[in-house]
Symmetry: C3
Subunit: 139 residues, 3 copies
């Protein structure tokens, strides 16, 4: 069995944002030498997500607005978590909707993707450094 | 390490629907010869889900109604994604709630399931061909 | 390839609750002898979740209230699933928001976690025995 571990630093300059990290994951898979296996990609912070969807600007706008409807940031005082001095309780909820991680098949040394699948980092409490973990296993 | 890759074509005749794919996944696991490992099952399209829950008609009705409350289809004009000519922005949201993929343990050559676990394909923008990926790894 | 399978019994005395199971998962990973690999942790019941987030009491209170807003328990008669004699349809929905499973990387024999990641069992229909599956693969 082969494996490869890669840590990727993310720094989104705004509170919320989506970043396409597919090329980074594809590069790590290529470097691993794994031909058949799985790659796990996960946010290492609990106010961020990794998810797979479409790289389309209108959709990202819709996600932003939709998540704000389901788990609004304001007023921060509505959340008991924010009594600790944080103002990011809503980010912990948005992350649950969008998910922590994806697991992607590797076939013939490539990400085994459908036509529109792209991997995104979803930031819900940015303006600071966070990390994404890419773990490849297989042979 | 052994591995097996299987692509399954799905064609749901209505816009939305749930299809129990547990027998298909169990068959692929059996064919793989893997006794201990993992199987990844994911939608290859970004307006569909793979998830695990109960095969109960009333529950599926409730999911349908509930998802429509959280991410309504109509009016399509409320979503910027639909400015591209699509009318499926809501499907991209429903898919995030229900998830893209499941990872299931294989123990003694079988899907290692609790009493009611069943694997479903969830379609949110059907009436066309899509694919599900089944990837088995282990030994 | 090495693997290890462990079943953990959960019994939450109230209808809903969150239990930190990180030490249990870490112990099973240690016992497996796997240095590089993946661990899958999933609820074996379909009205419970396994998820990763913060071990902070205020946040858990917020999750409880938020999930009740998105998928209210009462009145049970609003759900067709409950026509079967159950009163837990809402639990099947809460579980979809919070997720069935997590997959965590194992690096150098340890759970490869960011600073605040903790694994929780989320119960949405408790007061009875359920199980969590921990499956380690790697080498």
């Amino acid at each position: 069995m082969k494996s490869k571990t890669h840590y990727m630093t993310m720094q989104v300059p705004s509170r919320r944002g989506f970043v396409n990290i597919t090329p980074d994951v594809a590069r790590v898979v290529g470097e691993s030498g794994v031909r058949e296996g799985l790659v796990l990609v996960n946010a290492m912070h609990i106010t961020a997500s990794v998810f797979i969807n479409d790289d389309e600007r209108g959709l990202h706008h819709d996600y932003e607005r939709w998540l704000e409807t389901l788990a609004p940031h304001a007023p921060p005082s509505q959340y008991r978590h924010n009594d600790t001095g944080e103002d990011n309780a809503d980010a912990h909820m948005k992350r649950q909707i969008m998910g922590r991680e994806v697991v992607v098949a590797i076939t013939d040394g490539q990400l085994d993707f459908g036509p529109w699948e792209q991997i995104f980092y979803g930031e819900f409490d940015g303006r600071r450094k966070k990390r994404v973990l890419i773990k490849v296993i297989g042979e």
